[in-house]
């Protein structure tokens, strides 16, 4: 039973990290790159606007940071909850 509640706590913590990561993921791609582009049109960068940059470059850089941060956080979480391999 104790192991079960430990596992549930681990799973909730994992889901919380995923939730936060996916909010950032969404804002930086679908948000800045597509939906919010008109709002960012005033911020100029290299002959175009910030939305274009996010759509063709910025979003990819953010994705990279997100995955490695997630992997590191989960390694820590695995140890904390004693579920590492």
């Amino acid at each position: 039973m104790a192991e079960n509640s430990e596992n549930n706590a681990y799973w909730s913590a994992n889901k919380r990290i995923i939730g936060i990561s996916l909010v950032i993921w969404f804002i930086c791609s679908f948000g800045f790159g597509i939906l919010l582009r008109p709002m960012l049109a005033g911020i100029k960068i290299g002959g175009t606007d910030l939305g274009f940059w996010f759509a063709q470059q910025g979003s990819i850089l953010v994705f990279l940071v997100l995955i490695f941060t997630y992997a590191a956080k989960m390694n820590k979480l695995d140890k904390q909850h004693g579920v590492d391999e």
């Binding site: 596992n7 681990y10 993921w25 790159g33 063709q56 990819i60 994705f63 995955i67 989960m74 695995d78």
Partner: protein, 579 residues
């Protein structure tokens, strides 16, 4: 030495390398054939995944599509990279923990149903086969140019090589060959990009060059390009002309398709631990991002160079003369590509000039799939760079085609024949059936590749839509919900795949046969949703149907709920090698 000989030497050398590695690592037992004995380091695995992932669509086709579509085609860039975030967080670690060979195996066990497993095999084959058609299109373009033959002959030669290549090696051969292929393809992609970026902007880093000032005008290169396009009556490069709805749904479809494509997912079965599965997704994206950050620069700069070629004195002056195209040495590439049938010019108004513009009087048509391969020629780069790009394009197409054929053949031999039709089949018989199914898949894909439903990347995008609508939702629900049961999953997969297949066939022709379509993507059936974007709607249908059906029927049995609990926890994952 002429270009043709140089191409032959460089392409031949790279092929010898891949085949050498494949023979050296020749697959022995079936378990090695499928998942490389499960002991591949995350960085190596990431690189191999990168090669597997970056196909003819990414290498040969994507920059060309971006070159002509500008901002509107950003979905390819965001979609085909953002999916890795979903893979790393929602799919890969749990499937690695589950620890089986194939994706249908997980679906069959989690939904305690042979029917679910069979439906998953059908979804997998539909998506992968469509994907191979796109690869064949790219292989055809690459071979026709470098062997200087027409497109159909190029495609047939390419298909024969893909067949030979995929059948002699298993996954293990493929893992190490793919590392070699990654190195070839990324070198081939970045070297011309660096040359061109230096030439146009003085900045040697293409992603920075894209936002730098053009040497010719002193204005940012994107502003320069916008100006050129405006002069010629094309839409501005950075302007949105597609609807926000379609762009949004297209990006969703490509992202979740990425996380649902079995040939990518099985890559994560080959790492030693669950933690490695997470970091491996990150490494894969690092290697993929090197190309994806370069591609938008290649696209924009190739368009600038293309326009410069046809308007040597600027877009407000006269176009290039027909005489120059037919005789000038620096325009050799135009004649070479004309030979393949993928580029055509016609002096319609008889003024002796070839005018390239956005009006109905346009006299030049360029197949978008040739842009990456023609790019170094357009920019007059040295011959060895042109040969290297040909080798890179073939590496990209071959590695992905091989990975997809592996996924198809293991689904047929392992999930269909061994588990359901003939469980007592010998290991030899299983390998044999795997190879026969590969051969059948190649024949079908080659036949359909002769009249492809779109440019390579567009056909591949359809495959992502199919994976998005069928496999991704089943995997996600299988891991994150304990309530979704066998009936729900089967009904969801069938509904999601069916609506997507029908929507695609209505727009692209039934079984992709030209002329049998009732709608066209320029005026689609539903709102502004193109067939390439419909996978996201199919996924939504899948989720809703699975949820409703599951809630109307029994909860999954206790042992299945325990199985779900166990895939969520890394501890206890099976060993990598002795599995």
């Amino acid at each position: 030495m002429d270009q043709f000989t140089l191409n032959l030497i460089v392409v031949g050398a790279t092929f010898a390398l891949y085949i050498g590695i494949a023979i050296w690592a020749r697959a022995g037992s079936t378990s090695e054939f499928y998942a490389a004995g499960r002991g591949v380091h995350p960085v190596v695995n990431g690189m191999a995944t990168g090669a597997d992932w970056m196909s003819a669509a990414s290498f040969i086709s994507m920059a060309g599509i971006i070159s002509f579509g500008g901002y509107n085609t950003s979905a390819y860039l965001m979609g085909w990279t953002g999916g890795y975030v979903l893979l790393a967080m929602l799919i890969a670690p749990y499937l690695r923990k589950f620890g089986k060979f194939t994706v249908p195996e997980f679906i069959g066990d989690r939904f305690y149903s042979q029917t679910a497993r069979t439906v998953a095999v059908i979804c997998l084959i539909t998506a992968s086969l469509t994907y191979v058609i796109g690869q064949m299109t790219g292989v055809g373009v690459a071979f026709s140019r470098f062997l200087e033959v027409d497109n159909t002959t190029g495609l047939l030669i390419g298909a024969a090589i893909v067949f030979f290549y995929a059948v002699i090696g298993g996954m293990k051969g493929i893992t190490y060959t793919q590392v070699a292929q990654y190195v070839v393809l990324i070198t081939a992609y970045t070297i011309p990009a660096i040359f061109i970026s230096l030439k146009l902007t003085g900045n040697p880093v293409p992603p920075l060059g894209l936002f730098a000032d053009a040497k010719s005008t002193g204005l940012p290169i994107l502003e320069t390009l916008n100006g050129m396009l405006e002069d010629l009556g094309f839409a501005e490069y950075t302007r949105q002309t597609d609807t926000t709805l379609n762009m949004f749904l297209f990006t969703v479809s490509l992202m979740i398709g990425t996380a649902g494509l079995p040939h990518v997912i099985v890559r994560f079965f080959t790492v030693p631990t669950v933690a490695d599965a997470r970091s491996s997704a990150g490494w894969a994206l690092v290697f993929i991002a090197l190309l994806y950050l370069t591609a938008p620069a290649v696209g924009a700069m190739a368009r600038v160079n293309l326009i410069d070629t046809f308007y040597p004195n600027g877009t407000q002056s006269e176009a290039v003369s027909l005489d120059a195209i037919e005789n000038s040495e620096s325009l050799d590439w135009v004649r070479n590509w004309e030979q393949t049938g993928l580029l055509a010019f016609d002096d319609k108004n008889g003024d002796g000039l070839i005018e390239y513009n956005g009006s109905a009087d346009n006299e030049l048509t360029v197949n978008r799939d040739i842009i990456t391969l023609a790019n170094p020629e357009i920019a007059n780069l040295p011959g060895w760079v042109i040969a290297l790009v040909a080798a890179g394009g073939l590496a990209a197409a071959l590695s992905t085609a091989a990975g997809l054929l592996m996924a198809i053949s293991s689904a047929v031999s392992h999930d269909l024949i061994k588990s359901q039709i003939n469980p007592s089949i010998s290991e030899k018989g299983e390998l044999m059936s795997a190879r026969v199914s590969m051969a059948v898949a190649i024949v079908i894909a080659t036949y359909l590749g002769l009249n492809p439903p779109g440019f390579a990347a567009q056909t591949v995008a359809l495959a992502f839509g199919l994976a998005a609508s069928s496999i991704f939702p089943a995997l996600l629900m299988g891991i994150f919900s304990k309530r979704v049961n066998n009936k729900g999953a089967v009904a969801g997969m069938i509904a999601g795949l069916a609506v997507t297949v029908v929507y695609i066939f209505l727009h692209k022709g039934w079984f992709f046969i030209p002329g049998t379509n009732s709608f066209d993507d320029s005026d689609p059936l539903l709102l502004s949703i193109k067939s390439t974007s419909f996978g996201s709607i199919g996924a939504l249908v899948n989720f809703v149907v699975a949820y409703v059906v599951s809630n109307a029927s029994d909860e999954p049995p206790a042992e299945i709920q325990e199985l779900v609990e166990s895939v969520r926890i890394p501890r206890g994952a099976g060993g990598a090698v002795d599995h």
